[in-house]
């Protein structure tokens, strides 16, 4: 098991390297002079020169690569944001907890809802519950989450006044208010994910339920609940875990839009704003961070495979 995980980590190194190279290269792919674009087309030469020096764009490229990696590897330093007048790493660390907590809450909600509904509709295939679950999941896939968020604000916040219309209260300040401020964003983000997980769970369960060992277990008189939970679900978990892992990446992306809808000061909004401001160091840092997070989640999924199915590590 240890060797399998080590192997997976080693396999990720080239991907991590490529992610960091593409983050670094981002600014050099910008057509034209990034310093001019950042400072503004009408900016005086003096300001442009200052930006160029601050961004270290005036030194030869191999030196830039060297300095960038040196700062990143030795100090975890991602550079300086010209617009926030702060370290990029500090800005990201400040906003990361919010984005991650919404994403984790959303994936938890989606997994519970999705696996529950999926298993239920697989066990009662073609029943009313099954049809309802399929309609709900098709809706969840088709309704864009930013619009769903707006509709939820309109109904639950503006009309009923149950939740705040936006903004975030930190947990340390007031736990109850904090949960209230996270409720709608979590639900919004969780819906699409729940739809995907429901569909996958249903398909996986239907396949497993026709297997011989399930029929044997039923034939020897085990209760249906035991068979579904112990024999079937355990064997259907592999594709379900895969889709949960993939969905987590979707949520990190979805956060950009959802945080705009709910005016949450998280990573997503930071990325969106820094693109509008053309704050390249921040964009580079944020993409790198999210890319790495995504890779880590994929690694966790691989580890889960190994725990769920001992055969995996021998392949």
């Amino acid at each position: 098991m240890f060797r399998y995980i080590l192997g997976r980590i080693l396999a990720l190194l080239p991907v991590l390297l490529l992610i960091s190279v593409s983050s670094f290269a981002l600014i050099h792919l910008v057509p034209g002079d990034p310093a001019v674009i950042m400072a503004g087309l009408q900016a005086p030469d003096e300001v442009i020169r200052q930006v160029r020096e601050a961004m270290r764009l005036d030194i030869p490229i191999h030196q830039q690569v060297y300095e960038w990696y040196k700062a990143l590897v030795l100090h975890g330093d991602l550079g300086h944001s010209y617009f926030l007048n702060a370290r990029v790493s500090a800005a990201i660390l400040e906003r990361m907890p919010l984005t991650l907590s919404v994403a984790v809450l959303a994936i938890l909600l989606a997994s519970i809802l999705g696996i529950g509904l999926g298993v239920l509709s697989a066990v009662r295939q073609n029943s009313g519950v099954d049809k309802l679950a399929m309609v709900l999941s098709l809706g969840g896939l088709s309704i864009p989450n930013f619009w769903l968020g707006l509709m939820l604000i309109m109904y639950f916040s503006v009309r009923l006044g149950l939740f705040p219309t936006g903004g975030y209260v930190p947990w340390s300040q007031d736990p109850l208010e904090s949960l209230r401020s996270l409720a709608l964003p979590t639900f919004t983000l969780g819906c699409t994910a729940a739809a995907l997980i429901t569909r996958t769970s249903r398909a996986a369960m239907i396949e497993v339920l026709t297997e011989d060992y399930v029929r044997t277990a039923r034939a020897k008189g085990l209760r249906k609940l035991v068979v579904v939970n112990k024999h079937a679900l355990k064997n259907a978990l592999l594709p379900i875990v895969t889709v949960i892992g993939n969905t987590f990446g979707l949520l990190l992306g979805g956060a950009v839009v959802t945080e705009t809808v709910f005016s949450l000061p998280g990573m997503g909004r930071l990325v969106a704003l820094s693109i509008l401001r053309r704050d390249y160091p921040l964009i580079q840092g944020a993409l790198l961070t999210i890319g790495v997070l995504y890779v880590i989640v994929n690694l966790l999924v691989d580890v889960c495979y190994c725990l769920l199915d001992p055969r995996v590590k021998f392949d």
Partner: protein, 281 residues
């Protein structure tokens, strides 16, 4: 494709009611978008200060926005733009995905480098990658199209590559090679047609993703710039008037959802018809 084969597909399609519903709704949406200039008397850009934020009424079916522009008209034209962007993205993604996938699957030496590049592109969540590309290229409709093509091409390329790898070992491909067919002919006449079904199914979903993603990009302000109506930027403008003019956010959202739902239904149905093994349940 032989006529009898297409007849089998058509017969299967007519028996798949969800697919028919999806295809019919899609046709309706396309017709509405194409006929937009006939279906409305207003100009989507015409500002009317006398009727700002007017409620839905007979004169303004979906109400008006904060500039007094008719929302029904703007949603019609917005749908037109969404479908146009979706179509361009889908066609070019299909073309690029097919070329890259075939090359990667057929020529073993190209496979490694191409697939590593695709892996990196897929290491970023889709919408974030699109945003990253927009950061490089700058905002605007054409750049959004380029960004979405870059995002979805790897997904199509992977699927075509996978089919190419299985198809190229089949006897009829070996037979063609033995008969002295050139590689271009083998790829185009013998391999490509057999990779088409999964690609077409995937492209229907790419169409749906592209519409949602373009709306999302426009919503956060980096896609189609105002005043051109796109479903995303109508939503983004309406958002500021959520409490006083809820209709400004309802209509464009319903338009996106209906379009995407139609595509999802059609895609699910097509998958069942073209590739019964992949059927969900």
């Amino acid at each position: 494709m032989a006529t009898s084969e297409s007849r089998i597909y058509l017969a299967r399609m007519s028996r798949n009611s969800l697919c028919m519903v999806g295809a019919a709704s899609l046709l309706l949406v396309v017709l509405v978008a194409l006929l937009a200039p006939i279906l409305t008397v207003y100009d989507p850009l015409k500002v009317d200060p006398r009727s700002m934020l007017a409620e839905p009424s007979v004169r303004h079916l979906f109400g008006t926005d904060h500039f007094g522009r008719d929302l029904y008209t703007r949603v019609l034209y917005g749908t037109r733009i969404s479908l146009r962007i979706g179509t361009i993205v889908t066609l070019l993604t299909g073309l690029l995905g097919a070329v890259i996938g075939l090359a990667s699957g057929y020529f073993r030496r190209l496979d490694g480098p191409i697939m590593r590049l695709m892996d990196v592109l897929m290491a970023f969540p889709a919408i974030l990658l699109a945003i990253g590309v927009m950061a490089v290229l700058g905002t605007g409709e054409i750049n959004a199209i380029i960004a979405l093509i870059i995002v979805y091409t790897p997904r199509c390329a992977r699927i075509v590559r996978a089919s190419t790898l299985t198809v190229k070992t089949r006897e009829y491909v070996q037979a063609a090679r033995v008969l002295g067919a050139r590689e271009g002919r083998i790829i185009l006449r013998h391999i490509f047609p057999n990779c088409l079904s999964p690609l077409i199914v995937q492209l229907v979903f790419v169409f749906a993703y592209a519409i949602v993603a373009e709306a999302a990009l426009s919503f956060i302000g980096v896609g189609t710039p105002p005043p051109t109506p796109s479903l995303g930027n109508i939503l983004s403008e309406g958002r500021n008037y959520l409490a006083v003019a809820p209709w400004a956010t309802v209509a464009p959202g319903v338009a996106i959802s209906v379009t995407v739902l139609a595509l999802n239904l059609a895609g699910d149905g097509l998958r069942d018809i073209l590739d019964p093994r992949m059927k969900l349940g």
